[in-house]
């Protein structure tokens, strides 16, 4: 077994576009759930809008790459309104069902052959990289060391993603210590009390849904920067992975989503490489390597259960700031 090779590949996952994208989308979930108490199970839908909004603006409309990002953001604001208007006045579990349903509906629609001209149905979109790559400020060459060695294009994607992530972290931090953030946390703890203070609870919730959704959309853009838009990525499982990450790191914390994402990807990619190798090395008889590859998904589910039961505040969270209110 090439143990060093596995470790080196695992280490590369600390800084990948996927890692940055998940961290951004999970920051969005933190704004929704950690600070606002909103059960958004459709974050994959916001990421889909980011990816498709970016690719379609470039491919079908011929717009520059930065306009593609703005289109994604605009579309995600509309999506947030469609989600929020019917559900934000209702009990939390209605929002959960509505968000997961709309995100799935969105995925089925972009996958449908009816929109083949624009979305290329199940095959997804590719070949929209020219604009972003020509904006690359780094001269051609090799950068970094060890598992973190990149060419100029790979470096540019990572730097751009990290800039977005840095802005997101700073933005969420600034928002949550502002009066707006305090009201939002108040809504999470006791909606009626905040309403009694004369605040428009619905408007605050909607703003939280929009801001978190935009972060999800930016995550979706970073996710598609390296290669292609693949509709099968945006399954509800993606949302649940983000939830696992969020609750692992700490839902109502600034650094929780980043820490959770890094831990998630290290463990997840390590298991993805190590488990099939265990079978190949003959340590586990009677199981095929592809079967063993499924085990890590089972472990994500079990991890989600255990975190919610035994440490719902996450690694960095404060037990007093529990974001699960038992409102019924």
């Amino acid at each position: 077994m090439d143990f060093l090779g596995i470790l080196s590949q695992t280490a590369s996952w600390i800084l990948r576009p996927e890692t940055i994208a998940y961290a951004l989308a999970t920051m969005g979930l933190a704004v929704h759930f950690g600070y606002g108490g909103l059960l958004n199970f459709g974050q994959a839908g916001f990421m889909l809008i980011g990816g498709y909004g970016y690719a379609i603006s470039i491919l079908s409309l011929g717009w520059p790459w930065w306009a593609g990002i703005l289109v994604g953001i605009g579309a995600s604001i509309i999506f947030a309104f469609i989600l929020g208007l019917p559900t934000l006045r209702l009990r939390a579990d209605y929002l959960a069902i509505a968000t997961i349903a709309l995100a799935e509906a969105l995925r089925l629609i972009v996958q449908s052959t009816m929109l083949d001209d624009v979305t290329n149905s199940a095959d997804g979109l590719g070949g929209y990289h020219e604009g972003f790559r020509s904006a690359n400020p780094f001269p051609p060459g090799t950068y970094g060391f060890g598992p973190w060695t990149y060419n100029e294009a790979e470096l540019w994607i990572r730097v751009f993603g990290l800039i977005l992530l840095g802005l997101a972290i700073w933005g969420v931090w600034a928002l949550m210590r502002s009066p707006w953030g305090r009201v939002l946390r108040g809504i999470r703890e006791d909606e009626d009390a905040v309403r009694a203070l004369g605040k428009n609870v619905f408007a605050y919730k909607m703003q939280s849904l929009i801001i978190g959704g935009i972060l999800g959309t930016l995550g979706g853009v970073v996710l598609v920067l390296p290669s292609a838009v693949v509709p099968q990525v945006y399954l509800p499982s993606l949302t649940f992975f983000l939830w696992t990450i969020l609750l692992l790191g700490g839902a109502a914390t600034i650094w929780g989503p980043v820490l959770g994402t890094v831990i998630f990807w290290i463990v997840y990619s390590f298991l993805g490489l190590f488990l099939p190798e265990m079978v190949n090395a003959g340590w586990i008889p009677g199981v095929t390597p592809s079967q063993m590859g499924v085990v890590r998904f089972i472990l994500v589910g079990v991890a989600l259960m255990l975190i919610v039961i035994f440490r719902p505040q996450g690694i960095l969270g404060d037990k007093r700031e529990l974001s699960f209110n038992a409102r019924k």
Partner: protein
């Protein structure tokens, strides 16, 4: 470098020659198709003329009927012995031209074209035609060998309605389970999807893997489902309720449980689709009444659903435990205070809900057809849509909602692409939440 003038002098003579040849050939062509022989409709009345030749293997076909309609105008024409036809139309606009396939010789149909411009209906093959720069436009159909089977719309409609009812009934089995569990415990239980899959996988295990007959396999699968429901409540949900986890936490636990179970299924049965044992005699469609065609499997499946749903309704309305279930649904602490053993009833609901979900999974495995590791998950959002439409937590609402969602899903492909047939149900979910969040049969204060 050749100047423009030089270029013209170079090609002048061949160009003139070419032009002369073109004129001559046009004259010859117009002679060959003498207007006197072609069957014409309104060609002297209007200036704009569609024309064409109907040929099969280079043999002209006589007596083929064509229809031209559009912009409030319609005309028909029959080809002459040369297979030629002409129709005059009043405006320079788009018209639909239909070749009536029943007037073609037997075994000949209009061949599908690669760009998909031809649409096939009961009347025949239709193309859209438009004039270019001239007042004439030739429209030709390519014919090929084949037999066209056009199912009349009413037959397809009836077929879809029957499928929708069948699907709605099996959806109702799963939805009522979910709704009862929600009503008594307050958890929107995502892992219910895996109870649906478990029923189908259980039947697969006993009847395909072990090779036992299906009439033993299915009851054993349902016993397995019951055991799974009982164990779940004992090992996970009751201890967690006692631990004081909130509703939202329990819901997320159920999502993790669902994820783990789903991939556990994939671990054991792989990513492909497997069929339950069937007999071709029982799956072929029989003529029942007029346009209604059902297979024996369809009829047995619907009968089982109806009987089981009626039994559940009877249990809820007239038995002690059924009444206790409804009482807990209304007010848990009051029920406990009046002597109902809440934990016992909740466990019964878990067992019942899991068995119903398992049964729905077995029936769905025949309906889809096939067993897949994530089949229950595919059904889950439809279950949620049905339950919310009927009223979250109401058993009879779940039944009504399921039938409506079942019909909607199966009727969608009649008008829209089949790959978005689940989208309609999800849109209904949003619309219901917008205008009547308590659902069709829910009480308003439940929404809170």
């Amino acid at each position: 470098m050749v100047t423009a003038q030089g270029f013209w002098s170079l090609i002048k003579r061949p160009a003139l020659l070419l032009f002369a040849m073109l004129v001559a050939s046009l004259a010859l062509a117009s002679l060959a198709i003498s207007p006197a022989h072609a069957d014409e409709t309104n060609t002297d009345k209007y200036d704009y003329i569609f024309s064409g030749n109907v040929k099969y293997n280079d043999e002209p076909l006589e007596g083929v009927q064509l229809l031209v309609d559009g912009n409030g105008y319609s005309a028909e024409v029959v080809t002459d012995e040369k297979g030629h036809w002409e129709v005059g139309v009043p405006e320079k606009a788009k018209y639909n031209i239909t070749l009536v396939e029943s007037t073609l010789p037997k075994g000949v149909i209009v061949a599908p074209d690669e760009e998909g411009r031809i649409t096939i209906s009961e009347k025949g093959a239709t193309v859209e035609a438009e004039f270019g720069l001239t007042k004439d436009k030739s429209v030709n159909f390519f014919l090929g060998e084949g037999v066209r089977k056009v199912t009349p719309f009413i037959d397809r409609l009836m077929g879809s309605i029957m499928n929708g009812l069948n699907f709605g009934l099996m959806l109702a089995l799963a939805s009522i389970g979910l709704s009862l569990i929600y009503g008594t415990t307050g958890i929107a239980i995502f892992s219910h999807a895996e109870m649906v899959t478990l029923g189908a996988v259980g039947a697969f295990f006993f009847s395909v893997f072990l090779g036992w007959p299906i009439w033993i396999g299915i009851p054993l699968a349902l016993i397995l489902s019951a055991a799974a429901g009982y164990t779940q409540d004992m090992a996970i949900w009751r201890p967690l309720r006692k631990r004081g986890l909130s509703i939202v936490q329990l819901m997320i636990v159920s999502i993790g449980f669902s994820l783990a179970l789903r991939y556990l299924f994939q671990f054991f049965i792989g990513g492909g689709t497997t069929l339950l044992p069937t007999n071709p005699d029982t799956t072929s469609k029989l003529n029942i009444l007029g346009p209604i065609h059902l297979s024996i499997v369809d009829m047995v499946s619907m009968a089982i659903s109806i009987v089981v749903l009626a039994a559940v309704a009877f249990w809820l309305l007239y038995t002690r435990t059924g009444k206790a279930t409804r009482a807990i649904n209304d007010n848990e602490s009051l029920s406990a205070a009046s002597g109902i053993d809440v934990d016992k009833v909740v466990r019964l609901v878990w067992v019942l809900g899991s068995v119903l979900a398992g049964l729905s999974g077995v029936l769905w495995a025949y309906f889809r057809p096939g067993i897949k590791w994530d089949m229950g998950w595919q059904l889950l959002l439809l279950i949620f849509a049905a339950v919310v439409l009927g009223g979250l937590g109401t058993a009879f609402g779940a039944l009504v909602g399921s039938i409506i969602i079942g019909l909607l899903v199966e009727l969608t492909p009649l008008w829209l692409s089949a790959d978005i047939k689940y989208v309609g149900a999800l849109v209904v979910l949003i619309v219901v939440l917008l205008f009547r969040p308590q659902g069709l049969l829910g009480k308003k204060e439940r929404v809170g």
